[in-house]
Each structure stands twice: as C-alpha cells, then as structure tokens.
C-alpha cells in the first residue's frame, strides 16, 4: 500500500506516538486537577515543546546527512534565522507596552538611539509575512550557500568546515548591536502571539500541539522525499557521487534541493522554539549548537529519520537532567556519549534496533521493499557498512 511505503515499519509507530503526545500532553495539563499525579506540570510543557522543536531540527539534519551525505555543522544557523523571524514578529506585538513605551520602536532600539524602524523590520507586525520569512530567510541563505558550495563541488570535511564558518560568521554578525537584531541580548520580553498571551497556559498548550503537528508533518514530508525516486538518487549520491553524475544526474541540483528544503524545516523548528522558550539570541548560532544537533542524530540513528527525532529527545532529556544534577559535567557526558555511540552503536539506537528486528523476523530471505526509504547501513562515521 502507498501508506505502507510512505511510513515504513517504524514510521507508523513514530507518527502514532507523536500524534498521541500532541493531544495527551496539552490535555493532561489543561484538564486534570492541579494535584493529580498524571498531570503534566506547567513548567514541563514548554520544556517538552522545546524537545519537539529540537526533534524537528534533528530530522532536517538527518535528511541531508543521512540520505545525501552532507554533514552539516551549521544547521543551527537556519534554526536561528527561523527563530529570529518569529522573534521579530513577537517584538512587534509588544507595541507600546515596552519599558520605554515607544509605540514604534522595540526597547533595545530606543536604548540604542534608533530614530526609526530599520527597513528589514518592516512587515514583521503581520503574522503571514513573518511566517513567510520563517521559510524564506533560512531557505534563501541555504540556496545561496548551496549554489556556490555544490557547484564548486566542495564535499566531505571541507563542506562541513564551511558550514561551521557560515554559522560562526552569523554568530559574530548577530552579536553586533548595529545589526538591528538586539545584539547579544537578542529578542525577548514577548507579550502576545496572534493576540494570545505567550505565557498563558492555553497558549503554551497550543504551541506544544503545533510543535508536535509540525514534527509529524516534517516527518511525513521527509519520508515522501526519501521514498521517492529522488530519495534513491540522494542515497546514490551519498554512496557514489561521481557514478551518479556519469549516469546523467546533475548532482549539484539534487543537493541544492534537499539542502534548501532541510534549511526551511530547521527554520520552522526555530520559529516554534522561540515563543516557547521566550527568547532568541545569537548563542543559537554558536558552532557548538550545530555540532550538538549532529550528535543527537548519530545517537538516534543516522539515515532513519524517526531515530534522529528520538535522539534529539533522549539526549536533551539527559541534558536537562544532567545540568540540573551535575551542571559541570554535561559537556563531558555528551562527548563521552558520542564516543560510545560511535564505537558501540554506530547505527544509533534506531538503526541498531531495526537491524536486530529484521534479523530476528526474517533470518533468511530479505524483502527490501518494505524498508524503502531507510537509508540502510551507513554508520555515524560515514562508512557504509559492508554486507554480512
């Protein structure tokens, strides 16, 4: 069936879980009485919502890394641009309620002696425009970057390095006060979104729900891409790029397509993240954040999509716990986790589980049709795993 092919083995389970979470978490928070043991506490919902946004970001990284072999160490830039687009809308919604009470200028602009709103802030008081920018800003950056990088056939480590350089350059730029994005404080003190108070429990529930729906939608979109013929071309490029050229595929346009799509997904994740955490600042551009995202994907299982999302949630839950209990050791724990996964579980949690499951269910004959779209054996180190 077409839906079987689209979802795959673990995909249906994944989608069911995400949609169940989308409904149950907000419902339990809003409907259950305050003392109930089953109630998701108020502080927890935006935290879980944040994990969902990270899961969507991980999905976008897996799309390019797991399937097209493009190891991006700069996806945080696309996430942050989506976040800034949303943040600018939220800033405009504050209106005259800022500390300085200026009806036109956000507080930080008043503080920096701006006389009028910079041209690139125009339009952001309209939600549809901001929503468009959530896709267009990261999409355009990715398109221009990819146009030059893929055309000049930069691949492998060199490409990874220039993605780091890209996000680092943006980090420095956004730190500057005269860029007009709030400098190192970023954008914060949001009040309303679409007329609803951002801090209200009902708004938070809605944002959580939307994040889960976006994750499910992003997952379906990625599955549709990777199970298409184009998805097979991507895997062909990942495993034998020049061979793919010699049978007539223009590799750079395929990479450009999937790269730009992935950047826009990351932008959506960033846009949903900002109203839930209540701030966007340049630290999202930090090279280390982008590297962390790659670790989530490796832990969950590169080239499995659902695994990438799972990895994001598991690692971030671990991070929340660790930074609460032993804040100093978190980075070491993350590093250790990456080393252990690379050495012991090179296909990640889901990749290993899937393999174990196939091996058990069908020891002899293997019908690969139902595995369509799972970019099989390739480990976190990038080496294709030889057949047994």
């Amino acid at each position: 069936m077409i839906t079987d092919r689209l979802l795959g083995r673990s995909g249906a389970v994944f989608l069911a879980i995400v949609l169940a979470v989308a409904v149950l978490v907000p419902l339990s928070n809003l409907a259950l009485p305050a003392g109930s043991a089953l109630r998701v506490p108020d502080y927890m919902m935006p935290l879980l919502g944040k994990y969902l946004c990270y899961a969507l970001l991980a999905l976008s990284v897996d799309l390019v890394w797991g399937y097209a072999g493009i190891l991006s160490l700069g996806h945080g830039a696309f996430f942050a641009l989506g976040g800034y687009a949303m943040g600018m809308y939220l800033m405009r919604q504050i209106g005259a309620r800022g500390v300085y009470g200026n009806p036109v200028l956000p507080d930080f602009m008043v503080f920096l002696n701006y006389k009028e709103l910079p041209w690139f802030w125009q339009g952001f008081d309209h939600f549809p425009f901001a929503a468009l920018m959530v896709l267009a800003a990261p999409g355009l950056l990715a398109f221009v970057f990819g146009w030059f990088a893929f055309r000049s056939r930069v691949t492998g480590v060199y490409l990874s390095i220039i993605t780091q350089a890209m996000t680092y350059a943006l980090l420095l730029a956004f730190f500057r006060n005269d860029m007009g994005f709030g400098g190192n404080n970023g954008l914060t003190d949001f009040k309303d979104i679409l007329g609803f108070p951002v801090q209200a429990q009902g708004t938070r529930a809605a944002l959580f729900f939307l994040s889960a729906v976006a994750l499910a939608g992003g997952f379906l979109l990625c599955r549709a891409v990777v199970t298409s013929k184009l998805g097979k071309v991507l895997v062909a490029i990942r495993d034998a790029e020049s061979r793919t050229r010699f049978i007539g595929y223009r590799v750079e346009t395929y990479k450009l397509f999937v790269w730009t799509l992935s950047a826009m997904l990351a932008g959506v994740a960033g846009a949903l993240y900002v109203p839930q955490v209540g701030i966007i600042n340049p630290s999202e551009f930090a090279p280390a954040s982008s590297i962390e995202t790659v670790i989530w994907v490796a832990v969950g299982g590169r080239g499995t999509l659902a695994g990438a999302a799972l990895g994001a949630v598991v690692v971030n839950a671990g991070k929340t716990w660790f930074t609460g209990v032993f804040p100093e050791v978190w980075l070491f724990a993350l590093g250790l986790l990456f080393v252990l996964v690379t050495l012991l579980l090179p296909k990640g949690i889901l990749g290993t589980a899937a393999e174990w499951w196939t091996g058990r269910r069908r020891p002899a004959v293997r019908d690969l049709d139902d595995e369509d779209g799972v970019a099989r054996p390739v480990d976190a180190r990038g080496a294709p795993v030889p057949a047994e």
Partner: protein, 251 residues
C-alpha cells in the same frame, strides 16, 4: 533509416592531457562510427582510462577537440551529467554500482528518463518501466537477485549489473573499461557475446588487456602507447606490428 554517408559518432582530434608536465594523452586522434565496436589495447599507463575521462567530461583536455554526433556537441565544454544525457554511457575499470540499493533499484536509477530534480521527485513507477527492468534483468541474468542489495553480488555479477545499467541508459555510445577483469573464462566469453549483441545497435568502445577476449570480439583494434595511437587495424595486423610486440604483446 540511415542514409549513405555516416559521419563519425565520436571524434577525437589531436587530444592531449597533461598532468603536472606528464603527458597522459599526446596528440591522440580517434574516430568511432555510429554502430562500430572498437577494442582498445595498450600497456598500463598508456592513457586508455584517461581517454575515457576526456570523452565523459571528467578530465578536460589540455589541447585538442572531442566532439560527438558529427561535431554537433563539443564534449570539452560539457559536464558529466550532460554528456551522459547526450547518450554516452560508461563502465568503470573497477565496478561501481550503488551498493546500498537493490539490483532492481540500480537499474531503475539508470533507466533513460527525465533526470531533472522535480520530475524525479514526482516520478511514479510504471508498468512500462517494470517491463524494461524485467527485460534487462533477464539479459544480465540477475532476475533471481533483483531484490538483493548490490553489495551482496559477486564481482562478476557486479560487472554485469554495471553493463545492465549502461544498457538501461540506452546510450548511443558505450565506453567499457576492462569488463573481463576478474572474471572466469566462462563469464569472459559470455561478456564478449553480450557486448557483440549490444554493438549491433550502438557504438561500443572496449578497453581490455585479455587478448583471448579481444580475439573473441573480432573487431577493429587500436593500440595505445604513451598517450598516442601506435597501431590500428584487425587484431592480426596489430599483433604483427613490431612496435606493438615490443611495448605490449611481447612483454
């Protein structure tokens, strides 16, 4: 119907390729007709693979012309994908198939079709496509392995799969680099049969060291040495050439 004068399908004119002062190809000229099969022989390092690199757009010649279809396309200005789409297919010296894809998917990716990004994204599997794949699988004797991953095939099977992928592209010219390398005698003979059959409808250029195989093909032979043509003619004529014996056959 083809008319009287058939211009050359492939024309190399005084092609030179220089790598850091080293002349891999030196004033090489070669002409291949529309349904001609040609065998290329020559010692290691003679420039046989480099010649294929020039034809397929992988390497740009330092000097000289390379044109396709009676001079209509200048191969020295086009990229690999465009040249492949013009109808030049290539089999590499070391078999390269898409190891993670099934045998069937390898053929599907190679099938002649719209190669642009969006048509590929929305491509549907059709009955016609399925029939072509079935026929190809039959021809390269991999019908029973259609669902297996290409990585699991034997060396000889991979060579055949790669030839199948070439056929799937329906090229006008096939460049085949050492197809018999690492094959058993029976496989070698079968490969010669397959190539002869293919050459009935299209041009084939085969590079091979195996003289038994070249004799089996029974076609015009070109011997390369140090980047230029040393001798050209039937295998008997070429093997009678003193220089050829000296640099290649007599070793």
């Amino acid at each position: 119907m083809q008319t009287t004068t058939t211009p050359a399908l492939l024309y190399l004119d005084a092609v030179s390729v220089v790598f850091d002062g080293f002349r891999a190809l030196n004033n090489l000229s070669l002409m291949i007709g529309p349904t001609e099969m040609r065998a290329i022989i020559g010692p290691n390092g003679a420039g046989k693979t480099t010649m294929m690199d020039v034809i397929t757009g992988k390497t740009r010649p330092t000097a000289g012309q390379a044109t396709f279809e009676g001079g209509r396309h200048d191969l020295t200005t086009l990229d690999e994908a465009t040249i492949a789409q013009l109808g030049i297919g290539r089999k590499f010296q070391t078999p390269t198939v898409f190891e993670m894809h099934t045998v069937e998917d390898n053929l599907r990716l190679a099938l002649k079709a719209d190669r642009r990004t969006f048509p590929t994204l929305f491509a549907r599997r059709s009955a016609a496509e399925r029939e072509r794949i079935d026929a190809l699988l039959e021809r390269i004797r991999l019908t029973d392995s259609r669902r297996r991953r290409a990585a699991e095939l034997s060396h000889g099977q991979k060579q055949w799969l790669e030839i199948g992928m070439l056929l799937a592209q329906e090229p006008k010219l096939l460049l085949v680099d050492e197809p018999a390398a690492g094959m058993t005698d029976q496989e070698t003979a079968d490969t010669a049969d397959l190539l002869r059959e293919i050459a009935r409808t299209r041009a084939v250029v085969v590079v091979e060291h195996d003289m038994v195989f070249v004799r089996d093909l029974g076609v015009k032979v070109t011997c390369l040495h140090e980047g230029t043509v040393l001798a050209e003619g039937s295998l008997d004529q070429v093997s009678a050439n003193e220089r050829v014996v000296e640099v290649y056959l007599g070793r």
